[in-house]
């Protein structure tokens, strides 16, 4: 339970192990996200970043360890229960329903909600992404890559999450579009939503994050302030190529 002396982080992962039939992927992961933080999760392809997001959104089972969210144990809770509690996952490659309209894709993010503020959140999403305003009736699959990523993030926001997890924001997007999306991500964070950002463009991620975790072969190899991680010689050599 939260206490005044040691404030409980929004998300706390302790000793997490997880994997697939083919074998274990994550080993003893410890990770925390405070309610207002923007956290970067960095690592090579195959390090286990997407698997970790999968465990956090209930798509991949934890074999041991604990996950607490808002002070409650949510280890191996079902995906819909985690969405209800406030964890939204924007998956790699966007995974929109291509033949459905942009508006329906966005509304699907609010599928579980019964409150009356869904339309307020729709307005908020369109304020973040004005480019979508006149495309609400378009089939999502006909949008450009950048616009599709906006819909994917917007769909995540429609769940009104406390923690938004973004997997590969910049994948296949023009540099200018990435800039714009990163600005919106910062806005969302300033609005009080915690963010967990998985990003191959490590410089971009470390540029905007408060703290960062470096995942190597399924283990947290390094964590700390974003600037500190960026200046780490090992990180520079392994991910930045400088």
């Amino acid at each position: 339970m939260p206490s005044a002396l040691s404030p409980e982080p929004l998300l706390r992962v302790r000793g997490l192990n997880a994997g697939f039939d083919a074998g274990p992927v994550l080993f003893g992961i410890d990770l925390e996200v405070a309610p207002d933080e923007l956290i970067a999760l960095v690592g090579a392809n195959g390090a286990g970043k997407s698997t970790l997001l999968g465990v956090l959104s209930g798509l991949v089972r934890a074999t041991s360890g604990t996950i607490t969210f808002g002070g409650e144990d949510v280890t191996n809770a079902r995906p819909e229960a985690l969405v209800r509690r406030g964890i939204a996952h924007v998956p790699q490659g966007r995974r929109l329903f291509g033949t459905m309209s942009v508006e329906k894709n966005l509304l699907l993010g609010a599928y579980l909600r019964r409150d009356r503020e869904v339309s307020d959140d729709m307005t908020r999403v369109l304020d973040h992404f004005p480019a979508l305003k006149d495309k609400l009736s378009r089939e999502a699959g006909t949008l450009s890559g950048g616009e599709q990523q906006m819909v994917a993030i917007g769909r995540g926001l429609m769940a009104r999450p406390k923690l938004l997890m973004l997997d590969e924001l910049s994948l296949g997007l023009a540099p200018k579009v990435v800039d714009r999306l990163i600005e919106v991500v910062q806005q969302i964070n300033r609005g009080g939503t915690a963010l967990l950002l998985v990003e191959q463009d490590v410089l971009v991620a470390l540029d905007v994050a408060n703290r960062a975790y470096v995942l190597e072969n399924g283990r947290i190899a390094l964590s700390g302030g974003a600037a500190e991680v960026r200046d780490d010689p090992g990180v520079r050599k392994a991910y930045l190529g400088t």
């Binding site: 083919a22 090579a44 392809n45 195959g46 790699q92 450009s144 890559g145 950048g146 616009e147 590969e168 994948l171 296949g172 997007l173 023009a174 540099p175 200018k176 579009v177 990435v178 800039d179 714009r180 191959q200 463009d201 490590v202 410089l203 050599k237 392994a238 991910y239 930045l240 190529g241 400088t242």
Partner: protein, 267 residues
């Protein structure tokens, strides 16, 4: 068909020779409904060049690749390969002329091994002579070595990481023995170090005498490997030239790179 080694002296243009482009796009146009996705693009690619195509999402880059590889029929203009028109040819015929390509979304045969996947390219993409399995596997082995997947030849593709899946996609295309390779974002989703490793692979393929046209949003690729960059915007060529020059072009920064990125490039 014999395997080709590194570029030989005889392949290079002689002094004073009028060099015919290997691939020439003349006013190529492709419309979807009322929208011209590719709108009068003219472009020449010389043998042995590495040309990078960049531009905003939705600018028509992949559509242009689909026009070249015969996936789309042109609504206007012509595409010439070694001097002869190939507009309107079916994709498999374009492949057999020596134009190989990769796809942005890789779709390997999931239940097959890496080696079997590469052999598919050799079996079905070949020109004239039909290859038997024995020859196809020999080509697969050679190509897997070239792209750096030799050690994983016997692995099922399901176990490959993203960078390795991209390598396999390149291997399948190279196994068709192309003279020109069209690469559609094979470095998306790679970090800088993985990009550098992929560049080594592209250079290795190029060194066997293959012309390369690639689409990328990763400027490390454009600057690191391309002789020339072509910027598409709204289906048209916005700028073209040496990568370093093109990426400093104010119009390109405006339309594509954005201010933050332009600053990063300068520093």
């Amino acid at each position: 068909m014999t395997s080709r080694g590194p570029l030989k002296r005889a392949d290079l243009p002689l002094a004073g020779e009028v060099r015919q482009p290997q691939l020439e796009l003349q006013n190529v146009t492709k419309r979807f409904g009322g929208v011209a996705a590719v709108d009068g693009v003219s472009l020449a690619v010389g043998k042995g060049e590495i040309v990078g195509i960049i531009g905003p999402n939705g600018a028509g880059k992949t559509t242009l690749l689909n026009c070249i590889s015969g996936v789309y029929r042109l609504d206007g203009g012509d595409i010439r390969w070694e001097g002869a028109s190939i507009a309107g040819r079916a994709p498999y015929r374009v492949a057999r002329l020596g134009i190989g390509r990769t796809f942005q979304i890789v779709r390997p045969f999931g239940s097959m091994t890496v080696r079997e996947n590469a052999a598919i390219g050799a079996l079905f993409g070949s020109s004239r002579a039909r290859r038997g399995p024995r020859e196809a596997f020999a080509i697969a082995d050679e190509v897997l070595e070239l792209v750096g997947l030799k050690e994983k030849a016997a692995h099922p593709v399901a176990t490959l990481t993203i960078p390795d899946r991209k390598r396999l996609e390149v291997a399948r295309a190279v196994a068709t023995r192309p003279h020109l390779l069209l690469l559609d974002e094979v470095m998306a989703g790679l970090n800088n170090v993985e990009v550098d490793e992929a560049l080594v692979m592209v250079r290795a393929v190029h060194a066997t005498g293959v012309t390369v046209v690639l689409i990328e949003h990763v400027m490390r690729v454009i600057v690191g490997i391309c002789d020339r960059a072509v910027v598409l915007e709204s289906g048209r060529v916005l700028a073209e030239g040496e990568p370093e020059v093109v990426l400093r072009d104010e119009r390109v920064i405006q339309a594509y790179l954005g201010e933050r990125y332009a600053k990063r490039l300068k520093s």
